[in-house]
Symmetry: C2
Subunit: 258 residues, 2 copies
DNA sequence: GCTGATGTTCCATTATTTGGAACTTAATTT
DNA sequence: AAATTAAGTTCCAAATAATGGAACATCAGC
């Protein structure tokens, strides 16, 4: 999960922040002490600094939870993201056309970070999904993104993966995954056959910016009982079309050939 | 905006992160240099560290933008926020009852940070508003929150405010604001009479947790042409009721008397 | 009032950050 | 095309901040 050096003042603090934000529940000082492998004095000061800065919050019971300042940072990051801004209308259109949930995600390291989500019905679970980092090897968007990588980059990335079997159909080895990615690269679209979550399928297409700042994809997702593989295959075309429009929008926005 | 010391390695880096995330557009190295008041060498290394950690991103044109890792942190912070989790059903109910947009916000320093938003119609602008820091002196939620503070705390906070006149009716001095806040404290609800944005009104009620971890409020917001002051006054009661239910939920959840 | 568990502070040592200057690269002008 | 200026990057001795072991609090339960 950690994507950088863990040395230097900032690096160490970010490891801590990761630890606390990724926990399921607020952590006591001792919980963190056990997991962080830092001396007590050091850890205490580090946590104090994070709290001072509003990155963590310390409740009345001495438990540490993610701080609200993180929200402020993220809201701005999200609102201004060019990729998302360009993609948004096309995502809505795709949602309208299919009636199912549409996602936009980008590859960051070994994870897919979801930048946007358009749902048809109901009071949307805001933030739910958005911002979440999901594995690249078992999501439609992830596999579509991987199909864009050069052979060498892909090999390096696959080598670093550890495969968790979320369902019976999750890829469990770099070999089978690599084979599917070759296929996806040829076809131009990818499926998620209930690989991340049982009962959930999707069809995805890769999206990239010419300068390769963004390597990602879009997908249409829904319950397996409603989305036959047959239907998903039919949707591959509109999904690819939407992807093409997003890329055209990026080209116009950022200027050609950068 | 900065809410803490600006010394220490982390403090200085957070000032930078603030600077870049609050800008309207990605910044070049030189832009940041001019605003940060750091020596070139120092600034360069600081930015490099932030980029290494994924907190900032450096695009092909040498411009710094907020990094996507911020989204990941925030998504978790938001998803787990107890206040939001407890409030959510009551916000939806209030939205149903009024048909207008409902907000939940907490006071952090001099700002209101919006934790949730429930809209009735249309594909929601996700993140729009959520996570955003707004001034406390010209929002319904803000004034409701201020009415909860002790006299001393309030005086200190008001002393530090600088009043920007967003509209003709925005409070322009601590005196008029203090007077209204006294009134709000008695009544138990607050209005925003187009003080933050022309044509937008709201009615808000304060919400707090017993341990004072959360000092905030909820509001029903809408266009002035649809929401007469008369109507808002009628809604004060259901808003206060929803606020009471949220507080009860918090009491149960966190346990009484902490 | 003792005991163990948890959390906080202290300070000499150690590691990191600092910042001025030198250096490289890109853009603009002559 | 050469000269000039601006923009970005690297270096390293000096200044600063972080480290971590131990001593010091605090508190719940016995």
């Amino acid at each position: 999960m950690a994507q950088a050096r863990e040395t230097g003042t900032l690096g160490k603090l970010m490891v801590l922040l990761d630890l606390v934000t990724h926990a399921d529940t607020p952590l006591r000082f001792t919980d963190i002490l056990a997991r962080a492998g830092q001396p007590r004095g050091t850890l205490h000061r580090q946590l104090s600094h994070l709290v001072e800065e509003g990155l963590l919050e310390l409740d009345g019971d001495g438990r540490y939870a993610p701080g609200l300042r993180l929200l402020d940072f993220a809201a701005r990051s999200w609102a201004r993201n060019e990729f998302r801004l360009v993609a948004e209308p096309h995502l809505s259109e795709l949602q309208q056309a299919t009636g199912e949930t549409v996602h936009l995600g980008v590859l960051r390291g070994q994870s897919i970070i979801y930048l946007d989500k358009v749902e048809g019905r109901q009071p949307v679970r805001m933030y739910s999904q958005i911002g979440n980092a999901s594995p690249c090897y078992c999501t439609g968007v992830g596999k579509a993104a991987l199909s864009l990588l050069s052979r060498e980059t892909l090999v390096d990335l696959l080598a670093g993966l550890s495969f968790t079997s979320f369902t019976a159909s999750t890829h469990a080895s770099a070999e089978t995954l690599a084979a599917e990615i070759r296929e996806i690269a040829e076809q131009g679209y990818a499926f998620d056959r209930e690989e991340h979550e049982a009962g959930i399928r999707c069809v995805a297409a890769p999206v990239w910016s010419e300068d390769r700042t963004f390597i990602g994809g879009i997908s249409v997702t829904g319950p397996a009982y409603r989305l036959s593989m047959e239907l998903l295959r039919q949707w591959a075309v509109p999904v690819q079309l939407a992807a093409a429009r997003i890329m055209e929008g990026m080209r116009v926005r950022l200027g050609p050939r950068r």
